[in-house]
Structure formats: C-alpha cells, structure tokens
C-alpha cells in the first residue's frame, strides 16, 4: 500500500521532471558549456590550438566590435523605453477605458500581425517605407514631396521596425498587471486630491511594476538578440552585434571568436536584467509571474 503510493508519486514526478531536465540540459546547458569552452580556445600562428583569452581581447582591441556592441546595447535600451512609452497608455486604454467587448477586439487586433513570421512583418514595413513604397507614392502623388525619399536603411527606420515587432511583448504583461489594479484605488487617489500625474506615479506605476519589469526584460532580450530586423531595415551603417556574431560563425568560420561574442552578449543581458531588478527592488520570481 505504502509502496505503491510512493512509486505513483515518483512516476508522476518523473513525467514532469524528465522533459524539463532534457530541455534544460540538451538545449541550454550543454550548448552553452560548449560555447564557453570554445570561446577560450584559439589557434596560434602555427595552427596549434590551445587555451587563450585572445577571443575576448580582440573584442576590446578592435573598435568595430566594441562599438557595435555598445551601439546594440544602447539601441536596445532606446527600443525598450519607446516600447514602454507606447505600452503603458495602450495597456491603460485596453484595461481601464474600453469595455470588455472592445478589449477583446483590440487585443486581437494587436495580436493579428504576430500570426505571420517576423520576416513577413519586416517586409511589410519595407513595402511601406521604401523609395517606391506606398507612403512615398501617396505623398508624391498628392504633391507634398517633389520626389520620393528613401526612408529605409537608417537608424530611425530600424528602431521603428524593432519597436513594431517588440511592442506586443511589452503590452501583454502590462495589461496583465493593470487588469488586476482595482479601479477604486484610482478613484480613491483622485478623491483624496491627487491629479492624473500623481495617480500614475504613486498608484499605477508601483502596482504595475512587476509587469513593467517583465515586459522590459522580455523586450530588451528580444531586441538585443534580434537579427532579422536590423539586417533587413538597418542598412550597412546600422550594424547589430548579432550580425557580428553571425559573421564570425558563417563568414569567417571562426567559431571560437563567435562563441566569445555570443557569450559577451549573454553576459551583458544578464547583467542588465540583474541591475534593473536590483534598482527597482523587484524579485525575479515576482516579475516572471512565479510568485504573486
């Protein structure tokens, strides 16, 4: 009796544990350990391979690498911030202003573009913005511009493209927490003399902080590791660090340096998330929704 019960528990435990374990080891742990190992290996002039820090030092010695890196991190911050600026009012509108029926409709409308792959969405943006694109044709057609203007292949259009592909991941978690904000808290603050700015600052922000942080983290990681949008919309002067990594692996077949660069990207994203959580006094378990 006791034995059969115990073995039952063990079986159900294994059923859930094995997929998680395999997932983590095969897809995350092993490749990353291998990447770290690769990143510390280099070949010298004589073709002899051995342990080295060279893959990392080259990053700091070649401005093209660390400039691309800082640019990528900087623009990731910008995109995250722009997504937040868009996400907050949109979430507020969805949760607190419109009725239940419209809310479902708006959420669907926001989700619809994500039914197609990112590459199709980016080509959609390109169709709009390029020299022979729809916007140019309309504006030239009605005579506002004398001749078409190239709006693609610069930083602004690239940031626009990334914001477009990432905003959803900001809106969804913020809508989640804002939904749980009792309307009467907002009314109570208003009743006690607070204006709209104070209500946002003292009531809505603190309440939504876990959702805001999880939105920011997801968006930041997605943007930092994005490859398609910067490649298609950024043009030759808008290099993204993922393109550097791609080049190392594919163009130069330098897996060691590629691994080192990949590991640098992982380090910076972990560091940024950790310090953001520390700064805002949030816990990872709360932000990721494990503990309410």
């Amino acid at each position: 009796m006791m034995n059969s019960k115990r073995s039952k528990i063990r079986w159900s435990f294994l059923v859930f544990f094995i997929p998680v374990f395999l997932w983590l080891t095969l897809l995350f742990l092993l490749p990353n350990v291998e990447l770290i190992r690769l990143s510390f290996i280099g070949t010298d002039y004589y073709g002899q391979s051995g342990a080295t820090l060279g893959n990392y030092t080259v990053f700091f010695h070649e401005p093209i690498y660390w400039l691309t890196f800082t640019r990528t991190v900087g623009y990731s911050f910008v995109v995250t911030f722009v997504c937040l600026l868009i996400g907050l009012p949109v979430s507020f509108y969805i949760t607190k202003v419109v009725g239940l029926r419209l809310k479902g409709l708006i959420m669907t409308l926001i989700l619809v573009p994500f039914w197609v792959s990112e590459i199709v969405r980016v080509y959609g943006m390109i169709l709009l913005l390029r020299e022979t694109g729809i916007i140019n044709r309309i504006l030239v057609g009605i005579g506002i511009w004398k001749q078409p203007i190239e709006m693609l292949y610069n930083d602004v259009s690239m940031v626009m493209g990334i914001v477009y592909t990432a905003t959803l991941f900001m809106i969804v978690p913020i809508v989640g927490v804002m939904d749980s904000l009792d309307d009467s808290l907002i009314e109570a603050a208003h009743d006690l003399g607070a204006n709209k700015l104070i209500i946002w600052w003292k009531i809505i922000f603190p309440h939504c902080m876990p959702g805001i942080m999880s939105g920011c983290i997801v968006v930041f990681m997605l943007v930092l590791g994005n490859y398609i949008t910067p490649s298609l919309m950024g043009g030759k002067y808008s290099l993204w660090f993922t393109q550097q990594i791609y080049n190392q692996f594919i163009a130069y077949v330098n897996w060691n340096r590629g691994a080192a660069f990949g590991f640098l990207l992982l380090t910076i994203s972990s560091l940024v998330i950790w310090s953001a959580l520390k700064l805002t006094g949030q816990k990872l378990s709360r932000v990721s929704g494990v503990v309410k």
């Binding site: 009467s184 808290l185 009743d191 006690l192 003399g193 009531i203």
Partner: protein, 369 residues
C-alpha cells in the same frame, strides 16, 4: 443650522436607464445621514455624483453653499470611503493617511503630527509602519476612515463600508462609527442596504427605491409612520394583509380581507371605500391571546405552524383563516409563552392604531408569494 450638503433635483441616466431620478436632499452640518435602499436602487450612483466620480445628467450639488457641478473629485471638500475601502497596498498605514495631506502640499512635520493624532483618534496608535495586509478587517476600516478624516472634509461619504465584515464585527463597528461621528462632528453620509445599520447610526434616513426617495425622516418615524408601502416593507419586518377598504354605517373604517374577515383601521385620507389596500402590522405589535376586555383591537384566530427560535428575535409563524401567507408574530422570551407548541390554536390581536394602510401598489421587496 448650516447646510453641509444640498442636492437639488439631481438626475443620472445611463442610456435609457434612469439610475437617479430628480432626487433632492439637504443635510445639516454635523449630522449622520443615511441613504437606505435595496441593491440597484441608485444609492451608489448618487454618492458617486456627490463625490464627483460620476457627472450628473442634470441637477445641482452644493457643498457648504458652493456649486460643485463640473468640479473634479480632487478639488471637492468631500471624501469617499469605498465599499472595499481601496487602501493603497503599495503604501504603509502612515503613507496611506498622509496621501491626501501630501497632495495639499503640507509640510512634513505637520503631516507627521496630523497622522499621529488621527491614528490615536481611531484607536490605532503606533500603527503607522504597518503594511495594509498586516491589518485585520476592523483595523483596515479604521485606517480608511482616518485617511479621509485627516483631510477634515465638509462631508464624509461612506459606501457600505461594513458590508465586507463578519456579523459580530459589523455590530461592533456600527456603534463605533456612530461614536466616532459624534466625537469628530464631521457630517457623515452613509449608504447601506442594511436597515439596522441605518436605523442604529443615523440622525436621519432617506429610503431610496428605483432612483427616487420614498421618505426622508428620523429612524423612529420611518419605523412607526412609514410614508409608503415600500418603506413599510423595507424598513423592519412587517405583516402584509391585502384587502378592500370599506366604511360602515357608524363611520369607522375596515379592511375586508380576501377570506372575508374584517380588520378595523384608522381613517386614511388618501383612501376611498372600495380601494384595494395593503395593511401592515409589525410582528411585535401582535398580542398573543389578548385580554378580551381591550377595546380598539383587531382579533384573528390562528394556528401555530412553527416556532422559529432565535433568542430575542424568536417568532411564531401562524396560519390565519384561509390566508395564503403566514403571519409572523414576535415571541418574547419572558417564559409567558413557553407553553405554545406547533399546532396550537391561538388568538392574535393588535391595536388599530399600530397598523398602517396603503393603496395596493404591488410593490414587493423580495420574491414573496
């Protein structure tokens, strides 16, 4: 006496639905005023209009003589205690109470002093550092009250704040709220669907139904002299008899019940002989086996169906004649009536002056037979 609040013919429509219909009320400074009504009668809408959270469709609101229409809630000298209190969970008790004072730009030492004083006044000294979720139901209640009172509002609005508490605490808070109001002297406007809360605490009560005030009066008058059939049924418990209003040769008035029994009543100027009427008698006005020598009493023969023992609120359910509805009779627990058993035949009597009569409107307060 100065008016704290004056509402004139205020109306609120939501689409085609009229939630509040041409309601007027005046509340004098320092009074405890209650608005009593069933859920959905428009009392919360009325309160929200006074607080400024809902704009009236028409009508005017004056607080201490100043017109409030178009003034946003943060600029009105009224504060609202929400049904679920709406304490800010992201702040501790002190920050909650200081919230309104900070918005007024008062200095930090002044704020700290005021918060301390008000916490003592609501019997929570030293609770400033506590988090909201560390407080019990009654303590949260008092923090919510303190958060509003510290702003010294002209009128404090309370939206059924005791609804979420359990029975014992509710009974306790009833008395405490009344005492607190007497102590601070702020005008309270309290809305509730619980007639006992309204009767116990208030100086005056407005009974509201379907967007209008049925009666504004003292608790005693509401109970003993209801102005409408609705008030008679909603405030306290009442026995309802339906019959025909008649006048006999001697000039006295009667209600003839469906089964032919006659009940004597006092004259009612608004009723004509032949009208269908409702007659109400309180359970505690019923005498069990009354002294036959008494004059001016109605006597009915009945059979005890059941005894509902509820301590001081014990009642008899008595079947009378062929009437479909049982008559409820208060059963005093003074050992005089201990002999009564279910199935016993008893006489019920009441003084004609203790019943009231209204034209039958078909108003029901619950799904009765």
């Amino acid at each position: 006496m100065k008016l704290a609040l004056s509402v004139r013919e205020i109306t609120k429509k939501f689409g085609t639905f009229t939630a509040v219909n041409q309601v007027s009320l005046d509340v004098e400074d320092g009074r405890f005023f209650s608005i009593l009504g069933p859920s959905g009668c428009g009392k919360t809408t009325l309160l929200r209009m006074i607080a400024g959270l809902t704009e009236p469709t028409e009508g005017s609101i004056e607080i201490r003589g100043q017109n409030m229409v178009g003034v946003s809630p943060n600029k009105r000298p009224v504060n609202l205690i929400f049904q679920h209190l709406a304490l800010f969970p992201m702040m501790n008790v002190e920050e909650n109470i200081a919230f309104g004072l900070k918005r007024r730009g008062e200095s930090n030492p002044a704020i700290r002093k005021k918060v301390e004083t008000i916490l003592e006044r609501v019997d929570l000294p030293g609770f400033g550092e506590k988090k909201i979720d560390q407080l019990s139901g009654g303590q949260k209640q008092r923090v919510a009250i303190a958060r509003c009172l510290v702003l010294d509002p002209a009128v404090l609005l309370l939206d059924e704040p005791l609804g979420a508490l359990d029975l014992k605490l509710r009974e306790h808070m009833k008395v405490e709220l009344k005492n607190l109001q007497a102590k601070v002297g702020t005008t309270f406007i309290y809305i509730t669907h619980d007639q006992s809360e309204a009767l116990v605490m208030s100086d005056k009560v407005a009974v509201m139904n379907k967007g209008i005030f049925e009666q504004i009066d003292t608790p005693e008058n509401l109970y003993y002299h209801p102005a409408s059939s609705f008030v008679a049924q909603f405030v306290g418990q009442n026995n309802k008899f339906i019959g025909k209003f008649e006048k006999d040769i001697s000039g006295s008035f009667f209600v003839v019940l469906e089964d032919g029994q006659k009940l004597q009543v006092n004259s009612v100027p608004t009723l004509k002989p032949g009208d269908r009427v409702e007659l109400f008698t309180r359970p505690e006005a019923m005498m069990i086996n009354p002294n036959p020598e008494l004059s001016d009493i109605n006597v009915l023969q009945g059979k005890v169906n059941s005894i509902l023992f509820d301590g001081g609120n014990s009642r008899l359910m008595v079947a009378v004649g062929k009437l479909a509805k049982e008559v409820i009779v208060a059963l005093p627990q003074n050992t005089l009536h201990d002999h009564i058993q279910p199935g016993d035949k008893i006489k019920l009597g009441w003084n004609t002056a203790s019943s009231v009569c209204f034209k039958d409107t078909g108003v029901k307060t619950y799904d009765e037979l």
